[in-house]
């Protein structure tokens, strides 16, 4: 992620204060907060100073988590499946240890959790749609974490919320025992912790409506199993109210021109989380050097956006500027070196003579590789391959252009036709894709295609535990798509060590 950025880009002088109330409450104390609990209602905005880089980096990490949660929801993963799927993603992006873990980084983790929540809260309070989506995903995250909380720590956390819950004592339990069990269905789950608390019935209208509580003179006796959903409900209510407030405070935030581009970028990223490109994340390996002649034989592993560009290129022997740029960077990402890339384009543009190619196209390719251009470009080794997020947010292609994500830029009928042309024929899948793009979940549609096309291999990978879980999460970058597809097709070779891959193949052979 952003941690892989060149250190030179960090400017220590750029510091930000993440306190939206700063201007509202001039006397506010700026201090580090104590985080007694792992869970947080985020009622209080952070008041300490962090760098702009942390501000952005932590926000992006949280965004990644929320996007994955959303993907779980769209795929109807069960709570258990979601928990399992999210475990490595959370560990990587937003670890949050229990007090009992005695981890040395508790405070740092909790600070990061707290600040990143507030960063995103600001970024997503601008529109009603974003607020709803953010509140929904944050609530999911909260529920997931609460469920995983250590039993005792959860109890202590809930008690700390001061929610006016009175525990039903032994005397009342003895008095109303039968009624309590009949009303709350406690008899059903044997071995379940038996306990109740009471609140004013108005606090639990849904439970009252469903007759799932015992009522006595206006007090609702609620089984403790409902407590979690009540806490989650309360979290959700408070967050929604808080987002309304943030929305009103937002115009003031705009005054801070250091934060607004970051917030803007983050909210745009919500379309599909940004995944930065790094060489080791997407190129295959040293032993599988891609060259210009190989491209046609590996196109089948390309995501639809790149297959589309390749087809257009073959059909017209030409691609317009943005398509060329998108494809060049992708090829660079899969490990095609500059000379091979130039060769590839030279052969592809067969209707164009040498001098025109050299004059009009060569420079752009070299620039993309960082071979020419300013110091910054050279030092950064040119441009970064485009992520799904980038492709999903840029301007739509106009006539004659082919760049972008086809799931977004194609009409549903044309999209289905293109998928069929690339060998995707599963009718159920095509139907689901149609529905999913209808809901504008473009990258989800792409992932569904990937998963269905590689179903058997993915099953094998999971069953034999060949890959780390982080290699199985949602694809957010065209180069990741290629890498996984290619590796899945060569599972045997990797396992046999014919093609080296970092980590998993060695684990598997042990």
């Amino acid at each position: 992620m952003l941690a892989t950025r060149p250190a030179a880009r960090i400017d220590a002088k750029r510091r930000a204060t993440v306190d939206p109330r700063k201007r509202q409450f001039a006397k506010a104390q700026y201090q580090e907060q104590d985080y007694n609990f792992r869970m947080n209602f985020y009622a209080i905005p952070p008041t300490g100073d962090i760098s702009l880089e942390q501000f952005e980096e932590w926000g992006i990490a949280r965004l990644k988590v929320l996007a994955e949660l959303e993907a779980c929801q769209f795929r109807n993963r069960s709570p258990e499946e979601t928990a399992e799927y999210m475990r490595p993603i959370l560990q990587k992006n937003l670890p949050l240890s229990a007090n009992s873990s005695r981890s040395g980084s508790l405070a740092e983790e909790r600070k990061r959790d707290h600040y990143s929540h507030w960063t995103l809260r600001l970024a997503f309070s601008a529109t009603e749609d974003l607020r709803k989506r953010f509140a929904r995903l944050e609530t999911m995250l909260f529920r997931l974490r609460l469920a995983q909380d250590d039993g005792r720590e959860r109890r202590e956390f809930i008690e700390s919320l001061n929610m006016d819950w009175e525990t039903v004592g032994e005397e009342e339990k003895a008095m109303f025992g039968e009624e309590l069990r009949a009303a709350t269905g406690a008899w059903r789950a044997k071995g379940e912790e038996e306990g109740w608390f009471k609140v004013d019935w108005e606090r639990v209208p849904e439970l009252v409506e469903q007759r799932r509580v015992l009522l006595k003179k206006g007090k609702a006796y609620v089984h403790i199993r409902e407590q979690t959903s009540m806490v989650v409900g309360e979290f959700s209510r408070q967050l929604e109210a808080g987002l309304e407030l943030s929305a009103r405070a937002l115009p003031r935030m705009d005054e801070d021109n250091r934060l607004s581009p970051i917030l803007h970028h983050l909210s745009k990223s919500f379309t599909a989380p940004d995944t930065a490109y790094s060489q080791d994340a997407s190129s295959i390996t040293d032993s599988t050097q891609v060259n210009a002649a190989m491209i046609d034989s590996v196109v089948k592993h390309f995501p639809l956006c790149m297959q589309n560009l390749h087809r257009e290129l073959r059909k017209n022997s030409h691609l317009k500027h943005f398509g060329r740029l998108q494809y060049t960077l992708f090829l660079k990402g899969i490990g095609l070196d500059l000379n091979n890339c130039i060769e590839f384009w030279r052969r592809s543009f067969k209707l164009i003579d040498e001098s025109k190619f050299n004059k009009e196209y060569l420079y752009n390719i070299r620039h993309a590789y960082g071979d020419v251009g300013g110091d910054a470009n050279k030092r950064g080794r040119g441009y970064t391959p485009y992520s799904c997020q980038k492709l999903l947010t840029e301007a739509l292609p106009s006539a004659g252009q082919s760049h972008g994500c086809p799931y977004r830029t194609f009409s549903p009928d044309n999209l289905i036709a293109l998928l069929q042309a690339t060998g995707v024929n599963d009718r159920e899948l095509l139907k689901t894709v149609r529905e999913t793009v209808g809901k504008q979940r473009y990258h989800i549609a792409c992932n569904l295609v990937f998963e269905t096309q590689h179903k058997a291999d993915l099953k094998k990978v999971k069953e034999q535990n060949l890959w780390p879980a982080s290699e199985l999460d949602t694809i957010l970058h065209p180069n990741t798509y290629f890498k996984r597809s290619f590796q899945l097709a060569n599972l045997n070779k990797f396992q046999n060590g014919d093609i080296g891959i970092d980590g998993p193949s060695q684990e598997a052979s042990q």
Partner: protein, 506 residues
Amino acid sequence: MPHATTPGSSPPIEDTVMSEAPIADANDAANDTTGTVEDQEDDVSAVQPPAKTSLEDMFDDDDEEDGEFSSSAQTRTADSSQEAKPTSNSSSKATDPEVMRVFYQRLFPFRYLFQWLNHSPTPTTDFSNREFAFVLPNDAYIRYQSFVSADQLRKQCVQLTPTRFEIGPEYSTNPRDRKTLRKASAFRPVAKELVFDIDMTDYDEIRTCCSGASICQKCWTFITMAIKVVDAALREDFGFKHILWVYSGRRGAHAWISDKRARQMDDQKRKSIAGYLELLRGGDKGGKKVNVKRPLHPHLERSLNILNPHFQADVLIDQDPWAEPAKSERLLQLLGDKTLTAALQKKWDASPHRSSAQKWSDIDTLASAGSLSTLTPKTLVEVKQDIRLEYTYPRLDAEVSKKLNHLLKSPFVVHPGTGRVCVPIDVRRVEDFEPESVPTIQQLLKEIDAYEGDGREDEAGEKMQDWEKTSLKPYVEYFRTHVNTLMKDEMGAKRARAEEGESMDF
């Protein structure tokens, strides 16, 4: 013929001139948030030119059609209301404006109604921001009326002689000022009693004694059962104290819960109480109406205990709902077990005159006769509980309870069809309540005349209220007691709050 008109003819026209044209009100969609599609449809049917000729018949459908909830007046046009205008020349009819004028002048307990809605003897916004809606003699419907005092309301009634009036919520501002507000959102309902409506219409599929608009003491028992069950739940489960049950004038009852906690509930909380009390689902053609988990929720357990004796006496004996073969089919359908129902069917075909009580006990006899039933004894008990509930459990018109801004007919108004006053029902003696003994407006006016004709007036002193001279007296006294308890509670709480100062935690 002695006639109880007040000397001095009709009252002077005062400053209570109606400024609100009904049609304009009806079109004020921004403020009229109470009308639902169903309401509108009901109103459409309610204003169809009636084909019936007698006045009594014209009001037959009163309760279930426009009923007590004329909350949307959109479709009630001046033209169609003319159609509904009584053409009968019998001047003593309940809706006769002169009769109504006397009723409002001399009998209607405005003072207690004011206190009941105001929760204090001195005027507050609880009363002055409260919406009243009037149904005028020409059937025009006027909404968003409000008054600062009991006397002002009385004057308006005397002047307009509405056939009845309805009570809506207290609003954030005076309902009469709603159009002068710059923002529509500044005018919103803030409080109203929690209300319930129980109507005999919903019992038509299980009562055999009467149908349509008519009722008798036998089927009134269904309303009695419903009152007992709902009242118990409201008091014991929700802790409400100030519950007023009111006869709706023909064949149903309303409940008004005035506890502060109840008045302040939003729609979600109202809906959740309605859901808590609601049990029977599905229409006539549906399968089982009762689908509950076991063990029964304590509210249902208590309800069954209340209802069991009624089931034996009032349903099995009095209603005899499964006497006819066609009707006993429903019973077999509810039992569900094929072997058992076949055996029962055979038995009842052989002796077609078995009563419902006999048929009910046949179930146990045949079921215990060995392999005739695949139902376990426990399941059979549960199935029979479900059947008892289907034939006795309250059938509430839940929609009425769910909305803060619904209007409901005021207590003590006169039902235009029957002429009976919508009197409170003393819930402690709910079994003694006889709708047929509820005084009619004509009867009450005669009683005043008779009282004064006897020359008893002098003995009792001049201060005596007219209602004290009639059979309305016990009902007004009951209402007065109810209102006093409510005010005491409300003011006691206020005083306590004032004395405790800010230290008190709410």
